[in-house]
Symmetry: C2
């Protein structure tokens, strides 16, 4: 089937490539460990010429064969590839923003094979504590496209990860967002702090330990803040009340619980309403399932999951930028 | 001058030894990098016999020559030397507790040279999130001894460190305490997270950056919790609003600010009173100076510093245990 767009989700550690058909459907996809912080180093011919630039080499590995078969198919990319350490810096768009605005500020880099790669800018919120994202804005657009207009009037979109983003959508635009470093804090504490020493990573997810951590964060003890409750992952181990095998998911629940308790608090303050907004989660399925479990405990009752958000977001941006024409009605 | 007591402050990474005179005054002191997690490994004669036990070897290095000169001087030790990984486990005393109770449960280990080492137990608080300490209880006793009885009626004693302890004293007894892992979280984030990558450790303390971090924690933005405000150490760098050189002390102020904001909140809740208690700080002078600065911003108006708390606490415990007799009035 004819390819209409090559879409790249190019982050810090990985590069995902999608070949999309006439209706935006995925014809073929690949995932390579060639993020902007781990580009190929060994020289290799690119389009018949000697090549040593890491971005060119990774680009060839990701989709060189597709471009050989489809010479004039447009290419779009989002993520850290547009950062100051990326292939070409795509300066941030300011909030509030939407697909039209983002699509009008794509940056182009001409690859050695003569094909332009269109790079999606990240988004910046210039609040007293500024917030930035790269890649998540594209996922948000993919989520929004799949929703009816009335659902886009007011919505919270959660993108859990090393740096979780919570994006407030108002009338189809990215109005505001918050960042929580929950995933990275979990990783560094487990790998490098005293809490990791007694953790015994087990065979599977321990839901009971996870829920216990969430409940501690939501309890009166959680009012001491995460810097204090963290120590319970050790002290409950010392008193024999928490096994080494349970400590990993207890810590995960504790951190996610603190994140979501703060999120619920801030949402209620901002909205001046005890009612929490409807929410869509996007990302790694296992992580989204943890967040969904904890969100219920925190009072978020309307939670759904979105899939294929990145490739659909890139498709929408390519259309808005005129790189591809509107597909036929399906 | 005649030695009356050898007092050891034996923690995870270091071993401090004090030779104390008839009034508890320090005649001589040493600090060795021989904590219970880094004991000597090379065999060496102990009291004329081959020795390979790490505790025996460290003990000899710390005070073997003192014991050669003063055969019958008693020895007392506090800290991780009494943990399950220590020389001899000294089971925790439960809160509430005081010098009399702690002194009545010293554990003895007979060293190869025939001298008993008396080990101070740690303290445990069996609350739903238990709390434990080893070594800090001795410092608290040293602080209390230097105060008039009326000041011991109600007092908060802060021991900043990797795991900061905040000990509530009521009528001269350790009634309650909290732990915050602030120091260790600062260390692992600076050494192993993305926040460390842009930090440029400078030549000295940047008070302005530190105060800025404290103010963020205390501001409305701090309500999102530390997992969220942490990201500002990166995003303010990206927007050019925080230099790499300022990021270290900004992060320090941010974390200490979150710790103290939570402490003030919990203190007010527990006391049912907006007034915060008088407070004494003990520990590393540079760290205590940071905490003192931030405590003022958090509404703690009566803050003083204590010195020589460990050696004076060990002296008090040795007296309470009858290892030494009351000194002559000075």
């Amino acid at each position: 089937m004819q390819a209409k767009l090559i879409a790249l989700d190019w982050g810090t550690s990985s590069l995902r490539a999608y070949k999309l058909g006439a209706g935006g459907e995925v014809l073929e996809q690949r995932s390579l460990p060639l993020g902007v912080m781990q580009l190929p180093q060994a020289p290799h011919p690119v389009n018949g010429h000697p090549g040593s630039d890491g971005f060119e080499l990774a680009f060839e590995q990701a989709c060189g064969d597709w471009l050989n078969s489809h010479h004039d198919v447009p290419v779009i990319a989002c993520g850290m590839v547009g950062s100051a350490q990326g292939w070409r810096e795509a300066p941030y768009c300011e909030t509030p923003t939407d697909a039209t605005r983002l699509a009008s500020t794509l940056q182009r880099v001409r690859s050695k094979r003569g094909i332009d790669v269109h790079i999606v800018p990240g988004v910046i919120q210039r609040s007293p504590l500024p917030n930035v994202m790269r890649g998540e804005e594209t996922q948000v657009l993919g989520v929004l496209h799949a929703l009816p207009p009335q659902a886009q009037a007011e919505l919270l979109i959660g993108l859990p990860g090393s740096h979780s983003k919570w994006v407030q959508v108002v009338n189809g635009r990215i109005a505001h967002f918050d960042t929580f470093m929950t995933g990275e804090v979990f990783a560094v504490l487990s790998q490098h702090s005293i809490l990791g020493r007694t953790q015994q990573p087990g065979s599977g997810f321990d839901g009971q330990a996870f829920d216990r951590g969430v409940q501690v964060a939501l309890s009166v003890h959680g009012e001491s803040g995460v810097l204090s409750t963290l120590f319970s992952a050790r002290s409950l181990g010392l008193t024999g009340e928490l096994s080494g095998a349970a400590q990993v998911d207890y810590l995960s629940g504790l951190l996610i619980g603190h994140e979501l308790a703060a999120l619920a608090h801030v949402q209620r303050q901002r909205r001046g309403d005890a009612q929490l907004p409807a929410l869509v989660l996007v990302g790694n399925a296992e992580l989204c399932s943890r967040y969904r479990r904890a969100l219920g405990a925190c009072g978020f009752t309307q939670v759904s999951l979105a899939e294929q958000a990145t490739e659909q977001g890139l498709w929408q941006l390519a259309m808005a930028a005129g790189l591809i024409t509107c597909p036929l009605p399906r």
